[in-house]
């Protein structure tokens, strides 16, 4: 790392952070302009969604503003912003992993059968594919499926909400499950694999 550069960076942040601590909105804007892009690019790497990366930028800077009174101008602002970003990205990542869990299971099942768990694959495409397939389910089946897998309702809850028997709910769910796997298998897996030099661990 270039020492002159990092010294210089520290120096300019020192005054900006000091002003921000006093509540100077202009200093806040300057720090935003300096760090927001870096933060956006970084978040994008892990969240893989521009929208979510923007949310991270917003949350991080709102946090900085709210806690501005406790800022320490002498310590590195760069390190401070990373710490906040890390925690917020982690929160977003886990939330997303949870909501994608079902789709991941579907992909997992498919790739396991094909013996492709360790192959680098166009994952984003597969996720979108699963979504499309779910979306193409017959209306009623889709409704039941979403209530179960996304909202986490029990068979009983769904049955009473829709005024049908729990048995029907179960049948609909397993039909949906079969349909998704059948449709997924139609994708030519070979075309989704990356030709890559680092396939195994």
């Amino acid at each position: 790392m270039g020492h002159t550069l990092s010294n210089h960076t520290k120096h300019t942040d020192f005054y900006a952070v000091k002003s921000l601590k006093r509540g100077d909105a202009k200093a806040f804007d300057n720090l935003f302009n300096k760090y927001s892009q870096h933060l956006y690019n970084f978040s994008l790497k892990y969240l893989k969604s521009g929208e979510e990366a923007e949310e991270v930028v917003q949350e991080v800077f709102l946090y900085i503003w709210e806690k501005k009174g406790g800022l320490k101008p002498d310590t590195s602002f760069n390190a401070y912003i990373f710490t906040i970003a890390y925690n917020i990205i982690k929160k977003h990542f886990n939330k997303k992993a949870k909501s994608d869990a079902f789709k991941n299971d579907q992909i997992h099942t498919l790739l396991k059968e094909e013996n492709a768990l360790d192959k680098a694959i166009d994952y984003k495409f597969l996720l979108e594919k699963v979504e499309l397939i779910i979306d193409s389910l017959p209306e009623r089946r889709k409704e039941i499926f979403i209530k179960r897998k996304y909202h986490g309702l029990s068979l009983k809850q769904i049955a009473s909400e829709l005024n049908i028997s729990p048995n029907t709910v179960e049948n609909q769910l397993s039909a949906a499950q079969k349909h998704i796997q059948k449709e997924l298998k139609k994708e030519k897996l070979a075309g989704l694999l990356f030709f890559s030099l680092f396939i195994s661990i």
């Binding site: 935003f32 927001s36 892009q37 994008l44 917003q58 991941n104 997992h108 680098a120 994952y123």
Partner: protein, 338 residues
Amino acid sequence: MEIIKNKIKRFVSGKFSVSDLLSVEKYFREHNFDDSLRNHLQEDWNTTNKIASKSLGHVLDKIHHKIALNRPVKINPLRNLYRGFSRIAAILIIPLLIYLAWDFQDKHLIEGQVEYAELVSRTGVITSIKLPDGSKVWLNNFTKLRYPLDFSESREVYVDGEAYFEVAHRNNDCFIVKTEDLSVEVLGTKFNVIAYKEDQKVSVVLSEGKVKVMNDAGSISETLKPNEKFSLDKLARTATLENVISEDYFAWRGGYLKFREEPLSEVVKKMERWYNVDIEILSDDLKIRNYRGTFKNEPIEEVLRLMALTTPMKYTINEREITDDNGYEKKKITIERR
């Protein structure tokens, strides 16, 4: 526990396997990987590029907005009552506004053989209409549009105010927008015209296609490319061409009041039309101070409060005066240096 760096690196690169993904999810989820994960991300943070890949100005606007909303406000009970009441009042007023929006002067005029229709959008509501040839027009506040009822001969319309056009393509037929000082000639395209009679400046901003801007005397003739803004200073008789982000100039169609590093003197002019108020800036140095911000559905009090946060200004909202015929005058607002 230590993370396997290559797994995370592959995940970041986008070329990863399902096993990679499951591991990375585990690293993020389980606490005993936290130190190792954090160290790795810290390294990655330091090597992440800072190159602008996306404009984030709107995120800053949103933050400004939220900061202002979260500021604790001291409310006395009376004021609370008033706030509750004003909310009810707002609900009642909305249908009224919708009704008023239809209160255009919809006149048919006959000049020579050609019959014209004239629309005037008066209130703080944005109006859109479809012309006989399928072209669409959005009218900003206080804008007058005149067009021939029969479009088969020529497609020539007249604008006083601000309007956004999406011109339908028709063979090689030109569509002409006339203002008091300029005419804009187009084939099929999207653009914005700002030409209030009382303003010193007239501008045309192009978002798609190609337009030609001319003055009556024929001394000016410019062809615009997308994201270019042409302005004419009526007094100085000078024309300028600059690159802009054209969407900023169309935001009003979606109900956004948007300022992009504009001098306060221009900002208050937009606000006057938007809210139907009079605003006076008492300090000259404020007039040339640039302001940036985006507002949607905010009452003017809120907009002023937000502006005062980032600008060294204070403002006074004066009580409305009652005119001789028992009407109310426009709200008057003064802005001065803080």
